[in-house]
Assembly symmetry: T
Homo-oligomer: 149 residues x 12
Amino acid sequence: MPDSLRVLVVHGPNLNLLGTREPEIYGETTLPEIDDRLASEAKEWGAEVETFQSNHEGALVDRIQDASGWADGILINAGALTHTSVALRDVLAATDLPVVEVHLSNVHARESFRHHSYLSAVATGVIVGFGPDSYVLGLRGLLDSLTRG
Amino acid sequence: MPDSLRVLVVHGPNLNLLGTREPEIYGETTLPEIDDRLASEAKEWGAEVETFQSNHEGALVDRIQDASGWADGILINAGALTHTSVALRDVLAATDLPVVEVHLSNVHARESFRHHSYLSAVATGVIVGFGPDSYVLGLRGLLDSLTRG
Amino acid sequence: MPDSLRVLVVHGPNLNLLGTREPEIYGETTLPEIDDRLASEAKEWGAEVETFQSNHEGALVDRIQDASGWADGILINAGALTHTSVALRDVLAATDLPVVEVHLSNVHARESFRHHSYLSAVATGVIVGFGPDSYVLGLRGLLDSLTRG
Amino acid sequence: MPDSLRVLVVHGPNLNLLGTREPEIYGETTLPEIDDRLASEAKEWGAEVETFQSNHEGALVDRIQDASGWADGILINAGALTHTSVALRDVLAATDLPVVEVHLSNVHARESFRHHSYLSAVATGVIVGFGPDSYVLGLRGLLDSLTRG
Amino acid sequence: MPDSLRVLVVHGPNLNLLGTREPEIYGETTLPEIDDRLASEAKEWGAEVETFQSNHEGALVDRIQDASGWADGILINAGALTHTSVALRDVLAATDLPVVEVHLSNVHARESFRHHSYLSAVATGVIVGFGPDSYVLGLRGLLDSLTRG
Amino acid sequence: MPDSLRVLVVHGPNLNLLGTREPEIYGETTLPEIDDRLASEAKEWGAEVETFQSNHEGALVDRIQDASGWADGILINAGALTHTSVALRDVLAATDLPVVEVHLSNVHARESFRHHSYLSAVATGVIVGFGPDSYVLGLRGLLDSLTRG
Amino acid sequence: MPDSLRVLVVHGPNLNLLGTREPEIYGETTLPEIDDRLASEAKEWGAEVETFQSNHEGALVDRIQDASGWADGILINAGALTHTSVALRDVLAATDLPVVEVHLSNVHARESFRHHSYLSAVATGVIVGFGPDSYVLGLRGLLDSLTRG
Amino acid sequence: MPDSLRVLVVHGPNLNLLGTREPEIYGETTLPEIDDRLASEAKEWGAEVETFQSNHEGALVDRIQDASGWADGILINAGALTHTSVALRDVLAATDLPVVEVHLSNVHARESFRHHSYLSAVATGVIVGFGPDSYVLGLRGLLDSLTRG
Amino acid sequence: MPDSLRVLVVHGPNLNLLGTREPEIYGETTLPEIDDRLASEAKEWGAEVETFQSNHEGALVDRIQDASGWADGILINAGALTHTSVALRDVLAATDLPVVEVHLSNVHARESFRHHSYLSAVATGVIVGFGPDSYVLGLRGLLDSLTRG
Amino acid sequence: MPDSLRVLVVHGPNLNLLGTREPEIYGETTLPEIDDRLASEAKEWGAEVETFQSNHEGALVDRIQDASGWADGILINAGALTHTSVALRDVLAATDLPVVEVHLSNVHARESFRHHSYLSAVATGVIVGFGPDSYVLGLRGLLDSLTRG
Amino acid sequence: MPDSLRVLVVHGPNLNLLGTREPEIYGETTLPEIDDRLASEAKEWGAEVETFQSNHEGALVDRIQDASGWADGILINAGALTHTSVALRDVLAATDLPVVEVHLSNVHARESFRHHSYLSAVATGVIVGFGPDSYVLGLRGLLDSLTRG
Amino acid sequence: MPDSLRVLVVHGPNLNLLGTREPEIYGETTLPEIDDRLASEAKEWGAEVETFQSNHEGALVDRIQDASGWADGILINAGALTHTSVALRDVLAATDLPVVEVHLSNVHARESFRHHSYLSAVATGVIVGFGPDSYVLGLRGLLDSLTRG
């Protein structure tokens, strides 16, 4: 284990829009604010997070491949790609890192095509529906298991 | 809001077996140990938990009905009933309390009939796959939202 | 046929909550009030009703088994168990009594899992959507056929 | 509300054959006899019924469109069109009148294509399986709600 | 292995009605008579059976949990719960006892919802269609494997 | 049996277009020519045919209802209504006449929605794919069984 | 090509209700107003439209058959029959005229049974969701292709 | 075309049992009697039939392959293989002979797995439900088309 | 009933490989050893078994047809043909003999295509999962019912 | 509303190949020619279009996000991504701009996987099958509604 | 490993027709020519092939059982049985030999029932669409792995 | 045809990870080693390969579009995009080049979502399961057909 645990936080398509658009739906928290909360939380654990957002499936795959060289775990909200990307599933499975999948909204209470995730079966754990807290709870769960690991 | 937040923790069928049987699968943590962790966690928040386990769907429904008179939120691992009980879904929906659904194992990586939950659509949030930590994370998420509420 | 017709009225899970919770959805009529209306209606026909509510599938099955010894017909709103209980279907089929199935809300206008009833195929008739009147109409239909019987 | 409530009673394809053919299946009651029972029942409520039977989907749609100008409610047994006619669903939804759907036989105990009704989701209530009494119970349910309305 | 093999025989909902109702369908053998046959059969093997019937899923789960402390195998006819209870599947899987599933009637020749059993995949063997003999054959199969075990 | 057998021949929607349009697909035989062939064939058997074509489902139902008063059998090519009309199925079932269903083209080699017929299950026999000969063969089959009847 | 292009405009069931009922849903434009807009639009192209509305599938089929003798193209909003009528599909395919299918509302955002159209596969083009403009755009598209023809 | 038309008649599994077993279901006509009727019918057309029955899919395929060297058409009742044999479909498609598929019973009124035929899509025509007459009608249809050929 | 009961034992494709290949999966019992156990068991009942194995569906059908002339019952493990052969179902249904279906392995715990048997619906009883004991139990069940018969 | 309406025109994967390849299928119009037609059409309305083509889902999402800052509406032919991209659906829903979806070919007459669009449910209107005119009609429909807006 | 590798080449139903019939579809290569190419290819590797064609599933199973005694690998084109034979799947799985599945045509571009192969899941590799080259490539792949083995 | 055949080899997402990660699963061959083997193989044929790997669907589409200007054929392992990318299917279909699809693992023996390929129906041939040899065999098959072409 490295001196300090490092976590890659991955945000999928359209999550960069958080907070600035449709706040009545997605809340007023912006993605940078979420990233700040994650950084603070990590700090409390003596850990570090590195965050990455992209609307490009390929860029997300590239980044996750890269992470297998330095990260201790992955926290991912793949957004819409959750439901369509086998490539993300494969790259997550290819890393030997623990993966926590999070979603802001309760996907099970939305359209039926959002009920299935290609990623869940290769994740350690999944957290949905807590808004920005989904990320924080997910990070805690990930760090907890890494620390005990 | 009451002086101190109160949460009903509901454990469904067979969760009383935790820790004492098949520890290689379900881990060595027992249900009383989980309940203790939840009590400690609650205490940190100045909250209280009351826990209830039953193998009877009807008893679980009775208890949740009763909780709507005194509880501020519900944390539930309905076990096998997750996949078969519309009665639990209805009683959870009938209460006007926030509900957090948790699962020890990653249900999405198991038999296909475990991929669907009747409860998720009426829950605030869902947490799966973190073992006993699923409960702790769920309680935090629930108390967090109640405190901010 | 006995001197006076006797009908067992069965209320499934969560129907005991009627009227006291979410009146904007389920109306303000309570289950005792429904039972009173049924008793009055029965009286007009020179009949008697005995009512039973439980959140336990097993208790409902027990009660229906028992009814086959003294009742002339069964009026049942199985609530959520309508959609999941083969045991209720089997016990209703096992009695040689006429059965009328009722629902307060129009189940066909709700979630798709509520469109299927395990009970309907073994019932004499089914009445849905009239609120508390579903019970009254169902009792009339049942008594009418028993009287003519 | 008009001085006297008026209800359009709609009979779909082949219901004109009632009673005169296959009495062992459909019973010996004819459609005119059913219409008479409905007229009597209506009279007791100080209401009137106007009945219409056709084997033509288009004629049924025409009649229901017309009814929205004078009727207070619609009682309909759409027969075979129940399972195939979106046009009837649409015209019922287009009227702002309460609609009660009835069936003589227990459609849930017959071929699977009879288990689905295009009309139920836009009806106030549905009554099946009581033979000619389905109509009478349906009319009562309709008049009851109109009277209280 | 204990001095004498002990088998828990579990009867699900409505099996207590056997023989006394609808004998033309289910035959004239009562449940006590089946239990007697099983006791005799067991005796021949120097084994013992303990039988339990309940209409309550929860009670069946409780009893099976308890059996894991003293029984050498389980013989179960879960009745209607066969097709709907994941809780029973889970408790059977949780015990490390061999399980034999039996059914009186040939479920494959009945309604399609009876073709699927949640229990079969976790059972050692399944016997259907031999009437009361299903139990006797099942007990033999179970004792045979336990004896050789 | 009447002195001379009488058969109602029913042609559904768009069959009036036969021969005059798209002869490369449907052949050059017109509907009147088919009717003539059927009349000749019937004459050889000392029978009579009465033919009816309509693009209106309701008109077809009316005509078949009427036929139950005088016809000995029905030969029907319901065209597109084959795949959509429960009303035609019901009226054919309601008559106590033998029914033979025919199709010009091989419906099984066309779009999948043409593979299912609502009528076949209530027909005595079905003949598809022989072009105009389907009618002639169907009439023979019908008259054969009526004569032997 | 004739001196002036002629288009048959076909309106299916319930479209005669447009504008006068439920204006909050369907807008305040009436069918005559739509027909007027289409006539004006046609005039600009030196073309003519003839419009036909019926609630009867058979009447619509009759009219389209007739049109194949004089029209240069067909603009059709089959309303509810879109989803249920193979007869309309067949008659449209039988004409050798270009067909444009239009819908006022966005059928893809409504009930799932409205997502499938029997007509689309035999149409040249389909336009949905623009309200009355769907017709106008459809007519332009049709005339454009006919003019270039 | 040869001097005299030759038709291979193929009977699939269990058709050799016809008439001698379960006459109340399959009638009293035996397969040799059917073959005789076909021979007579053929003779009237100046044609010949050669008949072949086997319970072996492979033997049926062998025989049909052979027939492509001398036969002018094939009349086949593949029995149970109708629903399961792609090999028969392929060999029928591989011959360049017209094929008529027949069935004694109305397969559309039996179990749902009998509603699909692998053969129909490669047949010229299909005849079902006329008992032994299905064969005779099928032979006529086949010879008719061959003669006109 | 004959002096001594005779049972045809049918083994489908690949069962001749038992014991000599993959003993870790299928056990070390060979087919001849199973046949010997069945012969011994039969002898105890004063009955006889005749056994037949083939990898050819047609040969199995031939043999079962033949058995209807002399056998009193059939014990069958159709192996892979269980899931694909309608011909075997039909020949079993055509005999008026009681049929017991057995399987060595628990087919319900294997690939999903092994969960469906074409034979079960026409069998008297089905026994799966007991290894070679499935045959012995099946024979007992069959002889028991024949003896009582 | 800005001085002049601005529309973003989005072309998905492979649309850059238009006209230069397989002209017999896709016509001879190139994408620049379509863009020119759209520019001209826009000019007539006093509007402007900005066009963007990419084979990268992520680039399309980026561009649409950007458009929400300056555009008044979006005209999109997402090509193959229509059927697979939830990310495009989400970004279109996230903008508060009206969206018109167009397709060159009649997707409903092609492979079944092209019948479903993830975009349609969040679009204002959909136009398919008019070739390049689909774009022009779509732009008119969009500008029309914006102008009236 | 034997001195020289031996491969059993299995050809399923109708492959004996290759080249002599429908050459425009299946090419002009005959099965003996394919066998010759395979023999030559094998020779280059110092290996031998033995080829077997049958239209009988049972004969193919017999032959593959036999091969497990002497062959080092199996190259199989099961033709139509690919899609229907669990018996072939089972015998291939029962041998402990590597299996390569080949198809002449691209089955994925044909009828949907040809998209599923019962054999692929138990094969080492699968090659489709290269015409006779599928066999040659398959043999190479098989010998390559055996040589490296 | 050019002096020397040129083949574009396309590797989809995550194939760049080959050999360096999880060698126990994917083997120890790296992608550069595979590319080397392909280059050598091509050289023997007097051909050239150009290889391209990307985790970006759009980049793969771009590259394949480009290849249609210079390549004679395409060899593609689209990895996870095989199962999700209509855009790749469309660009492959848009080129008029022969396409060979390869997979390292036997996709038919893995998760069910890997059984379907959007690409196969537009490929010339498909090769799965031979590990790195899948590429080599695929290249041979492609060059063979190009050479003969």
